[in-house]
Amino acid sequence: MTPEEERVKETVTMPQMRPVDVAQRRESQPLTRETVFDVQNVAANYGTNTAVKNVNLEIYRNVVTALIGPSGCGKSTFIRCLNRMNDEVASFHLDGKIIFQGTDLYGDGVDPVEVRRRIGMVFQKPNPFPKTIYDNVAWAPRILGMKKHLDERIEKALRGAALWDEVKDRLKKSALSLSGGQQQRLCIARAIAIEPEVLLLDEPASALDPIATQSIEELMHELKNDYTIVIVTHNMQQAARVADRTAFFSIEVGEKGRSGVLVEYDDTSKLFTNPADKRTEDYVTGRFG
């Protein structure tokens, strides 16, 4: 099949998008919320440069939390703090505290490798390994010693990422033969194959066409039953469609240069219809950003 035909097939088999009404969704949220991340006065710095600061928020279990804001506001930097991905940058250091299920994420003796096993991440550009579809999903379970019932685990992950039906007959084919949208769903399958507690998505649809984007958004509604989801997006409509809670970040110009700040964090419906901060209002009404 040519990529063109592939895409057409994808279109045809795509389930209908559920109508997402922000106001309606509010009722369906659980009344008691369990905090997964408690972010206390966090600032993320690269060397002497502060990328984002004054972040105070609580991220709740089985809820989709969106981080929005103009480019350069530090939302991607912040999401990378949540699984210690920033540790890969030598000059990075974090002020403040991130409590993950009662444990200080940056406390003594916390191993970033273990943190990342429990907090999965999907990146902006699909980055499947140059291996088969099967091995992409199987790689992490294998190295982490989850080799029992591997086939079942992989099927479950691929089903979880709504990819199984499209790839079940070609699991031994290269992952690079998939379309962009399929690759991104494969990356999601790869992340959930090791059963993380949280799924971080850093602009997961920004490199995808609208149809692939739709299927990723659709998927997030399914995934939040099992996972806590944090998504960075520059697309406000996307945040409105998928997120229960939304955090708006903006840029502040201070003495030490520009840095991102958390402006407002609230239920998505509230943030989009009745924002408390003028800057949020300007952004969501399209007057800025």
């Binding site: 273990e114 429990r118 991440m121 390994f129 790689w139 992490a140 992340a191 090791i194």
Partner: protein, 294 residues
């Protein structure tokens, strides 16, 4: 407004024509330089092939070295010896070279890397005669010449080449792949082993083959370490092993014109080996690159 202007002159004035001339001249000189490079290669191949081809035969490749003053004989011991020495060199240089490159591109702190990089570059530029003397002083002086010593000397030639080419191909592995692996809770080393190295495999192979081609022809390091050998096939690297470059040197110094012919023929064999391996390396490189950037 509607004034009639003189027709536009697009033919250029004198200055433009002079600039064009300079341009042509520069192009011509550059082209000639490129042609000269090819001409030198063709001339070398032609000269060696013309003088060496007549001596080349199956028995030349399969027989023991000739006994001094007698006709006939072959270079089988040289081929076997050279293969063993280069094999030893590869066994030493490949892991060290690849690990050095991995250290540089995956693990090293930002401040350390340039120093090691520089060391590698200097090592690459080290005159091979100095490597020969160094290994002579280290392993041969006070002991005996040996295939091991020769292999070790050649490994010093090969190591920076392998490290360099490995480094280059590691740079081609997208960092998104490393991030993807790390985000799954893989350690750095696991990421390197499972994701980075498999992608870089083709490139590492290419670098190794190129280094082998280069090392196979190195003479000076072997002159000091494995140049006094028997004229039969020997495979014990604890003793000096016959090898092609040193024997070419010995024969070319000989007063016997028969030996000169043998030197040319051996040179032809060596040259063909180097050409073929280089071409293989090139093909491997193109293939692995295509695979990675797909």
């Amino acid at each position: 407004m509607a004034a009639i202007e003189a027709p536009l002159n697009l033919r250029g004035n004198k200055r433009l024509r002079r600039r064009q001339l300079v341009n042509r001249l520069a192009e011509l000189i550059a082209t000639l330089a490129a042609l000269a490079a090819i001409a030198v290669l063709v001339a070398v191949i032609w000269a060696v092939a013309k003088r060496g081809a007549s001596e080349l035969s199956w028995s030349f490749l399969t027989e023991d070295l000739p006994i001094f003053g007698l006709p006939g004989g072959g270079i089988a011991p040289l081929l076997v010896g050279s293969a063993i020495i280069v094999g030893i060199a590869t066994a030493i240089a490949l892991p060290i070279g690849v690990l050095t490159a991995l250290f540089l591109s995956e693990f090293s702190p930002r401040r350390v890397a340039p120093a090691i990089q520089l060391a590698l570059d200097l090592m690459n530029g080290l005159p091979s005669v100095i490597i020969g003397i160094f290994v002579f002083g280290l392993l041969v002086d006070g002991h005996t010449q040996s295939g091991y010593a020769g292999g070790f000397a050649l490994s010093i030639v090969m190591m920076p080449l392998i490290a360099r080419s490995t480094q280059e191909v590691l740079r081609l592995v997208p960092s998104a792949q490393r991030e993807g692996a790390l985000a799954l809770g893989a350690s750095r080393w696991r990421t390197v082993l499972g994701i980075v190295l498999p992608s870089a495999f083709g490139g590492i192979l290419t670098g190794t083959v190129l280094a082998i081609a280069r090392a196979a022809g190195e003479t000076a390091p072997l002159l000091f370490t494995t140049s006094i050998f028997a004229n039969q096939i020997s495979t014990d690297p604890r003793h000096a092993l016959p090898n092609i470059p040193v024997q070419i040197f010995i024969w070319s110094e000989s007063p016997d014109p028969e030996d000169h012919a043998r030197a040319w023929a051996s040179a032809l064999v060596l040259m063909l080996f180097v050409l073929v391996t280089s071409l293989i390396a090139r093909a491997l490189y193109v293939r692995s690159r295509r695979k990675m950037t797909r």
